[in-house]
């Protein structure tokens, strides 16, 4: 909190915060309003006398009905869920073991390996999808969920590894040493002591990995082609933008429904994941 005169608090705290919050939330609000706005209002010109851009006078569920009834939105949701959960599980498993090894075990090239994993994370997806497409084709995985379940870990594993590595490093080494004196093998010490303490870190890595795969666009766009295999971000944009015609109502309805699962997950684990990011281990 900023101390001092009231005007200072307004100038340095309330006003910037308000600007930030409004500009951050406005797109979501726009999405919400558009979802429930009837087409007649949506395509009304700026100059019309009863033009009301910020709210709607005749809210309607037409767009949502259209989205659920006339498109494969339900299938896309299931696809996205399946792919995200599987990719997250694989990445979390690998990230846990790699993060633990890189932060705790002494072995030759440990530092180099850690840096190497980080560098792979820096390679842009827009570059990586070209060779990956070749691999996907060679293994005949194109247009199946496996194309994404196996390629998402290429950026999720480095991400999870680095996040968890930092978290494991923050856990006092003595805890593990004590466990090993107490009679635990390294494996058991990891399982019973380190992992339970790292739960906030593991959860936040999981949430991030899940969100990243849920929102992923490029790989999904390139590797999947049939409508019934698509994920939400690709399905919504490819099936609801036809030529140069934007079906704004169903598009926004798709965006709204597509972001609900992520929002639910965040709200469930928000405390854990803040603790995970700030890396606080209390003894």
């Amino acid at each position: 909190m900023i101390e001092g005169a009231t005007w200072k608090r307004w100038v340095f705290f309330y006003v910037p915060l308000t600007v930030f919050v409004v500009s951050l939330l406005f797109p979501f609000y726009w999405m919400l309003v558009t979802t429930f706005r009837p087409d007649s209002e949506l395509y009304r010109p700026w100059s019309a006398p009863n033009y009301a851009p910020l709210w709607t006078t005749h809210p309607t569920l037409d767009h949502i009905k259209y989205l659920l009834g006339e498109t494969l939105f339900g299938t896309w949701m299931l696809n996205t869920l399946l792919i995200s959960v599987a990719a997250t599980a694989i990445s979390l498993f690998c990230g846990l073991l790699a993060g633990y090894a890189l932060s705790r075990l002494k072995f030759p090239l440990a530092g180099g390996l850690g840096a190497g994993i980080f560098i792979t994370y820096l390679v842009p997806q827009t570059l990586l999808f070209i060779p990956l497409a070749d691999i996907i084709r060679n293994y005949h995985l194109g247009d199946t969920p496996w194309a994404l379940i196996l390629t998402y870990p290429t950026f999720l594993i480095p991400f999870c590894t680095w996040l968890l590595m930092g978290y494991f490093k923050a856990i006092p080494r003595e805890l593990e040493e004590c466990a090993r004196i107490d009679g635990a093998t390294r494996w058991k010490a990891m399982l019973y002591i380190i992992f339970p303490i790292a739960v906030p870190g593991i959860l936040s890595a999981g949430i991030f990995a899940f969100t990243l795969s849920w929102n992923e666009f490029i790989y999904a766009l390139v590797f999947l082609s049939s409508p019934e295999e698509k994920t939400v971000p690709v399905g919504v944009t490819s099936e609801l933008i036809r030529g140069d015609v934007f079906f704004w109502g169903p598009l926004m309805a798709g965006a709204l429904l597509g972001s609900i699962p992520v929002a639910i997950i965040y709200s469930f684990f928000v405390e854990y994941y803040v603790a995970g990011l700030t890396g606080s281990v209390k003894g």
């Binding site: 006092p172 003595e174 805890l175 040493e177 004590c178 466990a179 090993r180 004196i181 107490d182 009679g183 635990a184 093998t185 058991k188 019973y192 002591i193 339970p196 303490i197 739960v199 281990v281 209390k282 003894g283």
Partner: protein
Amino acid sequence: MARVLIRGLNKKFGEVHVVKDVNLEIRDKEFLVIVGPSGCGKTTTLRMVAGLESITSGQILIGDTVVNELPPMDRDIAMVFQNYALYPHMSVYDNMAFGLKMRRFKQVEISQRVQAAAEILGIGDYLKRKPRQLSGGQRQRVALGRAIVRHPRVFLFDEPLSNLDAKLRVQMRVELKKIHDRLGTTAIYVTHDQVEAMTLGDRVVVMRDGVVQQVGEPLELYNEPTTRFVASFIGSPSMNFATVKVTEADGGVWVINEGIRIMVSAEMGVRLRRYVGEQVALGIRPEDLRLASSDDPAELGFDAVVEVVEKLGSEILLDVKVGSAMMVAAVEPTVRAQVRDRLRLAVNPERLHFFDSRSEAAI
């Protein structure tokens, strides 16, 4: 119960030689304290005994077994860490039971042992709490309890009291001593606090720069330090040192500098004779200095000017200037001394220490 034997122990971290040829025997049921300034290799030595650090060369035996290659879990030891290292996600009970569970003890046995340890330590009421709900002293007790329940052959303590406040530290020190007397388990205790070392140890090891300086009972270290380092490290306030020249006159051996002129005892004179004409370090403990009375012989005292008076209650510390050197004298609380007073201090010739100025070994 077991004896621990350390033979020719060395540890190198890359080029840095942190533990140099350490030889120690910790007897069965003994409480051995390793003391020294930070970075002297005492903790590394302890960690090698625990199996947490590999051994560069040398041998460690627990009982009759060479444990060099044994993992920590197979050495039958328990260790208490400076930061307690309690498992934050487990209750006090589970913290104490963890070692027993890992060793597949029966539930009944675990419960009995935890209850017994909790009773000894007075933590029976907290068994269901998590470590973060405990105070520093309570956490320390839990850490001790976790070591006790295992009935190990050797206890290892790595500065266990240094995170506690001064009052609690004194209290826990006494309790530790009681617990050791009761259980009689061999213990190795590492600390940088010489008071802890003196009060807890059956014997004390003083280390410096990876080398064992002296091993002995507390009073032996205090009364007969073998090096200047041990003399200055043990005792509080620490020993006064002055550089003096050895001369022979009037049938006795004298040590002299600009402010001091003392005749040493006949016995010490014999030992100092080969230093005649050379400089040596004279060491006098503050508590061996007292105000001279008119009966004191002139050759066993020197003049000093008071610069600071520290009234501690049970005694008064006088920071005095002797010639160009500063000394501290611990005198009776009844002494009325003022800053800038000039007074005469008397020494007991039996309680003077002399050290070779090059090798720093006691003469």
